[in-house]
Symmetry: C2
Subunit: 246 residues, 2 copies
Amino acid sequence: MTRNLKLTIEYDGTHYHGWQRQKADATVQEAIETALFTMTRKPVTLIGSGRTDAGVHARGQIANFRTDSRIDPRSFQKGLNSLLNDDIAIQDCSEGPPDFHARYDAIAKTYQYRILNRTIPTAIDRHFSWHIRCPLDVTAMQTAMKHIIGRHDFKSFEGGGSNKPNTVREVKATTICEGNNGIVVLEIKADGFLRYMVRNITGTLVDVGTGKLSPDAIPGILEGRDRALASPTAPPQGLFLMSVEY
Amino acid sequence: MTRNLKLTIEYDGTHYHGWQRQKADATVQEAIETALFTMTRKPVTLIGSGRTDAGVHARGQIANFRTDSRIDPRSFQKGLNSLLNDDIAIQDCSEGPPDFHARYDAIAKTYQYRILNRTIPTAIDRHFSWHIRCPLDVTAMQTAMKHIIGRHDFKSFEGGGSNKPNTVREVKATTICEGNNGIVVLEIKADGFLRYMVRNITGTLVDVGTGKLSPDAIPGILEGRDRALASPTAPPQGLFLMSVEY
């Protein structure tokens, strides 16, 4: 009997070329598929909720795979965690409904972006934050962030090379929090994301925070539907896929 | 004229065999001394506030060195940061008084120990916390922690191989905080620390947290002056030297 298993996956993306299997480079999908092949002795296709780019991390990526194996979910989790490098940790494995599809069935995802805003350099947080020396006006960033909530055409925040026919997405919730030692954490929940969307929004909000852009420039950037209107892409290492809702 | 310069250093200790220079292995002291040699063209001895063990991190290690070089402090900081691997970051460089000595003049140090207390495995925090699956009673740990405040003989918490004549230290302040997602953070400030002292205290507090030891066992462990009375040493990757007071 073919079963459909669902994985919840945390990964430190520092040393991976993103989620999606590639010809030559190490990816998270490939690492897990290889471990599943070792366990089941059959080729397995892992369907992720979506790609994450090179250097991006996940605390709650979701994926599913079909298998004839009789290995129980708990043994899959244990076996995978012992086979995988310790920069990938299977948080959970459970039996899914036969038709569950990690990508098609996702109704919302939440991403977090971590900024380290201080003049002094950093060693410990270097793989998990974007270090910005220039002081950020977080209140202005909060004002700007409010303009992206709701249903908008996010074409201006879509990375080059992607050509999705529909660039309208609904941002359901956003937060920006300031923590100790200069940590600024952005969170965005949406029904879907375009390529580089969170990193392009973050780059633009940082330009608001440094005073380069007015918080009220955001509606015009959205309406313009032109990538050139928004700011440069924030680097990957500050970004975390936090959770996926079904 | 010989100057005396003071450095504030952050490091990710994951790939170092601790602070102190060794014959064969990579250490933080050696890395910085090598970079100082490159900058000044003369051998430089760097005096740290104290050793940190292999795999232990620092957010605020302090060190000083004497030099005849005329390079100004800001250029030393910039030069070192460009020469060093990005797992060491010089936070500050300043001119010190001629007789400043990073080890002898230290009057207090603060260490932090990070525990990740949750059943699910971790990838992202693996180099910066001790992962404990068994649920911890943090209130019991707080009660136990109170017993170590003050002036005590910490012989029972001293690592083997060390034979300091005086094992009396004064713990000036302690905190234990629970954060999100199972993070438990211990902080201990003392006028000095014995080898493995924070890690042995942490290991013992964790045994209190899991119910193996009563919080009221601590005074007896202190009075016994016997390492065998305390619990196993906590692993290095959860430990951070936070700051040194002068």
